[in-house]
Symmetry: C2
Subunit: 142 residues, 2 copies
């Protein structure tokens, strides 16, 4: 898959739905929207990151993960949301260490919170937008 198959998105915000679920809304430059249903704890982490004035007294879970990756010589460079299969979104974080790329599977909600923490771009595969628009139900992140 080439880079042209992915588009950069921004995180519009987080909302709350029924069934103890929250939703994070992403959109690309063409205003195509991608809603991903996520858990409340992950929603809270994303909301905290979107609030630029939020300044926790202690490192939160995402700070801990990203800070320790840095201490181990790893630099988070991007999140890619690359698949939607059987109602579940899949994504990967990329970390660079000593000129090598390390990719790791993650839930999109964790990945979005980590990407916002490290201020790195989020990309979505074009086919994920297409498949999401075909879904009648609400695809989730786990």
């Amino acid at each position: 898959m080439t880079d042209s198959d992915y588009v950069e998105v921004e995180v519009v915000g987080v909302g709350h739905g029924v069934d103890n679920k929250a939703v994070v809304l992403l959109k690309d430059q063409s205003d195509r929207q991608l809603p991903i249903w996520i858990g409340h704890c992950e929603a809270l982490a994303i909301v905290q990151r979107l609030n630029k004035e939020f300044d926790p007294p202690r490192p939160l879970t995402q700070d801990l993960a990203v800070n320790l990756w840095k201490r181990l010589g790893g630099t988070l460079t991007q999140l890619r949301i690359d698949d939607l299969w059987e109602q579940v979104y899949y994504s990967k974080l990329t970390v660079e260490q000593d000129g090598q790329s390390v990719e790791i599977d993650c839930r999109p909600s964790d990945g979005i919170a980590m990407a916002l923490t490290a201020e790195v771009p989020i990309f979505v595969a074009n086919r994920v937008f297409v498949e999401s628009s075909r879904e009648e139900d609400e695809p989730e992140d786990e």
Copy 2:
């Protein structure tokens, strides 16, 4: 501070209190107990780790952090809860990489969830037990 100033503890369980707070209870071999008030999301993460039959379909936040530390050559070896100051508990995770120790500050709740994920020991400074028993209020982890 020498190793004899620390004792290994086990995680007894998690309970729920008032004011939207949860508590995780630690105890040492002499049955000295240490309650730490934590957030609900961190409590959920700890409960999930204590439930040996819990088998999430996707990596959770703590799995993501620990797995990526491993991929970067880091091995989590222990959690130390080393201070209680102005009603807040402090702790550090130790990660070994290439024969070097990397220590990182964390909230005890995150540290406990990470230690349970990686199945490494948790130590508490003796003076933290002493100071905790003197507190009239409920010290927290942030």
